[in-house]
Amino acid sequence: MSGPARTAACLAHLGGGFLLWSSCFVVLYALLSLGCEAGWGGWLRPVLAAAWALHLLAIAAVLALQWKMRAAAGDGAPLAPPRSLQGPALALTTAALLATAWIGWPVLALPACAGSELRVAGPPS
């Protein structure tokens, strides 16, 4: 495996979990904005919850993969980070999983579009 590919894999191990966290954040915010503007009504909450759950699952999958790699081959696996960074990579992915759970759980508990009416409406087009 080439040096640049190993570097990219290492960076992906370190940042992959939080990239998914970022994706979850952006997707939830975008879906919420779109849904409230377009009046998705009762569909919005299940859509948000599904997007959140998918991201949780994806991060959990990355975490499982990292555990497996660490247990199986250490430095020897072609896509594994160096052994010295495997601990930080696992910690980061675990933190990303918890952070995603933390920012997303309100979709299950709060009304989706309350408050958007506070925004001052623009002039009629």
């Binding site: 040096g3 640049p4 190993r6 570097t7 290492c10 370190l14 940042g15 939080f18 990239l19 966290w21 970022s22 954040f25 939830l28 915010y29 975008a30 919420l32 904005s33 779109l34 409230c36 503007e37 377009a38 160096p82 010295s84 960074l85 601990g87 930080p88 910690a91 980061l92 933190a95 990303a96 952070a99 933390w102 920012i103 997303g104 309100p106 979709v107 709060l110 009304p111 989706a112 579009c113 309350a114 408050g115 958007s116 009416e117 506070l118 925004r119 001052v120 409406a121 623009g122 002039p123 087009s125």
Partner: protein, 839 residues
């Protein structure tokens, strides 16, 4: 040892010759990081004192109710310039200066990856700063707050040049930040000393790695926002005008997408300095090294999830507020991890109370207070109450002064002996610290109460009898105490630079490589580059500095006639190549002036002159690039310890490719921000759908997309033919790429412009026109890439081994084709659907 001495002396003499810095007026040609970094630091400190004087004017004005010291218009300029100078002309450049100075030394390299780019960045910074200062002196400084919200800053409400100065001047300065970020990333990833794996890398380098990545992603939204706001002001394209389909909230999103990460871009390097300095004063390794790395990366990401907490009162759905409130609270956790690691390091160490430690302790106290009020402001109900009051002013100063200024002042004192080879005056320094610390808390702790009593920000005057008189007076008196402290600090630094006691090498007993040098350091940093075996090389191997100075490391040969530093692989840091570094050069300054002339032409509405400046800049950049490279395949360099390494011109992943790759990350963020703006306006802004859609066909857009794809394919073929030693084939394919690029330059706008409503009519047409301009700009630059590669091939600079020009052209055209096709889809598909046409 005595036998090696003449050789070592001769080696240093030879290195001094090779790395000599020009003197006198030719000093403007300097590109060495030691010089450029000092310029950044000194200039940033000058701006700090200018910004500080503006702060004193603010406090003088607010000391008493109904003050007539400044009129309202002047006051607006003063507080806007105070914020803008401190954020853009002091904090970020000081970070750049420190990073440029320290990073090569900490990682055992001789210079940064792109010395000329660093110098170019400095000139952009200085010239952009002078534009802003010139406006201040002329009484036409920006006056819309450092965040420049429209509609206050649109042409109707700010008709003068004030807002233009900010939008263009700050954008000019941002070039320097992007350049520095690219330089820092490539340097850290590819120039570390052999053996310095990522896990052994000094923590400051980890912090800067994350910070530089954040800069590449954080600054482009602001650059986009500034450009389109300037377009709205200059040409009437209504991106933010709600009456014509724009939305002022788009500016707030773009600004705070930059603005909140900016706080962490400022904090993280300061925290990196703390993590680097503390072990020296605690006399033990840092506690929780790996947890600190984890925390820094978490903060790097999480800081991009906070931007809406500056917009809690604009009418966003409550659920969205909760996302951002949750993220804002979340970021306290990695911050706390670092704080506990620092406290534990002191707890388990044997701390010595040197002067820098005073600032570090001051940092811990002040920053914790700022962090706690930050968590308060992250709570939506409290935020609604405290929004736009002096409570927020107090909070942000606790965070920025505590989290940035105190650590950097500690850093200035810590590395002062390194910079000047002298010690500061301890009593004067301690007196200055206590005046600053007490004055700061006297000013801003009280300001929390002023804010909680309801005093709004950015008001030039207030009535008596509201309970604000006394706290304002206390804040103002304390602020002058702080100012006296800063004056004494300045006096200490200036006096010590000339008459300070000579310092021994490594006076603090620090473990990091920069203290392996003579102080002040020579231009080449190290006579030879070391092999590193752990995180504290000077503690584990006390003889290392002597061996490096004797030329016993890598690249320690006396037979050297060009500036060289090792290139290593990003993970394991094993040597892979030798980087040939450029000599001092006048082109960074000339390019800075040429680019500056474009901004000045735009500022003074002399639009006809802007293309002239752009062409001059293009010619200069062409000349800059042309001055490097080789006409023959080079022999490997004997790097020492039996290693024969290729030079960077013939390795696959040259610095040029790496630099372009990271630049494209910033460019891609700009593009993503543009798409976000388009989607935002189309879905959320009032006044949509537009009165007229683009009248679009499908033949010309398809032809444009094909032309883009052919150009990218042709460059790839040129690279392949070059690899097969088929020079004529390579040149033919490059010519094909150029022709296809020209075709794209015609076909892409031909499919859009005839059917595009006037961009002044509605935000829809305006953003389409801007996206078209983005695509055409990239095609234009792509043509330059293709032409340049062709010319280099013709002049003999290319061979199967030497292919940097082809690799970079390929990278650019791949990006250009992908983004160009996305632009075509984004422009045409909605129009097709609106018109009911299915291509």
């Amino acid at each position: 040892m005595s036998a090696a001495r003449p050789t070592a002396l001769a080696l240093h003499a030879q290195l001094r010759r090779v790395w000599r810095n020009p003197a006198g007026w030719r000093g403007f040609m300097a590109t060495n990081h030691n010089v450029v970094a000092r310029r950044f630091i000194a200039t940033a400190l000058v701006f700090f004192f200018i910004g500080g004087m503006l702060a004193m004017m603010i406090r003088a004005q607010l000391a008493t109710p109904g003050s007539a010291f400044l009129d309202s218009a002047t006051y607006s300029q003063v507080f806007t310039m105070h914020g803008s100078i401190m954020m853009f002309l002091f904090a970020i450049p000081l970070i750049e200066g420190f990073a440029m100075y320290l990073l090569p030394k900490l990682i055992g390299a001789r210079d940064l990856a792109y010395p000329r780019l660093g110098a170019f960045g400095y000139w952009c910074y200085l010239l952009g700063g002078l534009i802003l200062l010139g406006a201040l002196a002329g009484g036409v400084a920006p006056d819309g707050g450092w965040f420049m919200y429209p509609p206050l800053t649109d042409k109707v409400h700010t008709p003068g040049v004030n807002a233009d100065v900010w939008l263009l001047g700050i954008t000019f300065v941002e070039i320097s930040a992007i350049a520095a970020a690219v330089e820092i990333l490539v340097t850290i990833l590819t120039m570390r000393a052999p053996g310095m794996t990522l896990a052994r890398m000094p923590l400051f380098a980890w912090y800067m790695l994350v910070t530089a990545g954040m800069m590449l992603v954080g600054f482009p939204p602001l650059i986009l926002g500034s450009l389109i706001l300037e377009l709205e002001r200059a040409a009437g394209w209504p991106f933010f005008d709600a009456a014509r389909g724009g939305d002022p909230l788009l500016w707030q999103h773009l600004f705070w997408l930059f603005g909140h990460p900016e706080v962490y871009i400022i904090f993280l390097p300061a925290a990196g300095l703390v993590s680097t300095m503390l072990p020296a004063y605690a006399r033990r390794p840092i506690v929780g090294h790996d947890w600190i790395i984890v925390s820094v990366i978490v903060m790097g990401f999480a800081s991009f999830g906070l931007w809406v907490h500056h917009m809690f009162t604009v009418g966003i759905p409550h659920l969205a507020l909760v996302f951002f409130s949750a993220a804002s609270m979340l970021v306290a956790i990695p911050t706390a991890v670092q704080l506990f690691a620092w406290i534990a390091t002191l707890w388990h160490g044997r701390p010595k109370l040197e002067l820098p430690m005073l600032y570090l302790l001051g940092f811990l106290v002040v920053f914790v207070c700022g962090g706690l009020t930050g968590v308060m402001l992250a709570l939506v109900p409290f935020n609604w109450q405290a929004h736009d009051t002096h409570f927020v002013v107090a909070h942000l100063h606790y965070v920025l002064v505590g989290g940035f200024l105190f650590p950097f002042l500690a850093g200035i004192y810590h590395w002062f002996p390194h910079l000047f080879g002298r010690r500061t005056l301890p009593r004067l320094g301690a007196l200055a610290f206590w005046l600053v610390f007490l004055g700061f808390n006297g000013t801003f702790f009280v300001m929390h109460l002023t804010g909680l009593m309801g005093m709004p920000r950015r008001v030039a005057s207030y009535a008596t009898g509201l309970g604000w008189d006394l706290p304002n007076l206390v804040s103002s008196i304390a602020s002058f105490v702080m100012a006296i402290g800063f004056f004494l600090l300045l006096l200490d630094l200036v006096l010590s630079a000339f008459i300070g006691r000579r310092s021994v090498r490594n006076p603090w007993g620090a473990p990091t490589l920069e203290w392996a040098q003579a102080t002040p350091p020579p231009m080449y940093n190290f006579a030879s580059q070391p092999r590193v075996a752990d995180r504290e090389p000077l503690w584990s191997d006390a003889a290392l500095p002597a061996r490096m100075a004797a030329g016993e490391g890598y690249l320690g040969s006396i037979d050297v006639h060009e500036q060289q530093s090792l290139g290593t692989d990003p993970l394991g840091a094993e040597p892979t190549h030798v980087i040939r570094l450029p000599r001092p050069d006048w082109r960074p300054l000339a390019c800075g002036l040429a680019v500056g002339s474009v901004f000045m032409a735009l500022l003074f509405k002399a639009y006809a002159l802007a293309p002239v400046g752009a062409v001059v800049a293009l010619v200069l950049f062409w000349s800059w690039a042309w001055s490097i490279g080789l006409r023959d395949d080079p022999q490997p360099v004997q790097a020492g310890h039996g290693l024969a390494l290729p030079v960077h011109d013939v390795v696959a992943h040259s610095p040029g490719r790496a630099g372009l790759l990271w630049t494209l990350v910033a460019d891609g963020t700009f593009f993503a921000s543009l798409l976000f703006g388009y989607a935002y306006l189309g879905t959320v802004a009032p006044g949509w759908p537009p009165p007229r859609w683009l009248a679009s066909g499908w033949m010309l857009p398809l032809a444009g997309a094909v032309a883009l794809a052919v150009a990218a394919f042709a460059v790839r073929r040129a690279d392949a033919r070059n690899g097969a030693a088929d020079a004529p084939g390579r040149q033919r394919w490059l010519a094909t790429a150029f022709a296809a690029g020209l075709a794209a330059l015609v076909l892409v706008p031909a499919g859009i412009l005839p059917g595009l409503p006037p961009p002044t009519e509605h935000a829809y047409a305006a953003i389409l026109a801007f996206m078209l301009a983005y695509a055409l700009f990239h095609v234009g630059v792509g043509l330059v890439f293709a032409a340049y590669a062709w010319a280099r091939g013709r002049a003999g600079y290319l061979s199967p081994a030497r292919r940097t020009e082809l690799v970079t052209a390929r990278l650019w055209w791949d990006y250009c084709a992908v983004t160009g096709i996305i632009v075509l889809l984004a422009v045409h598909v909605p129009a097709w659907f609106a018109a009911g046409v299915r291509p």
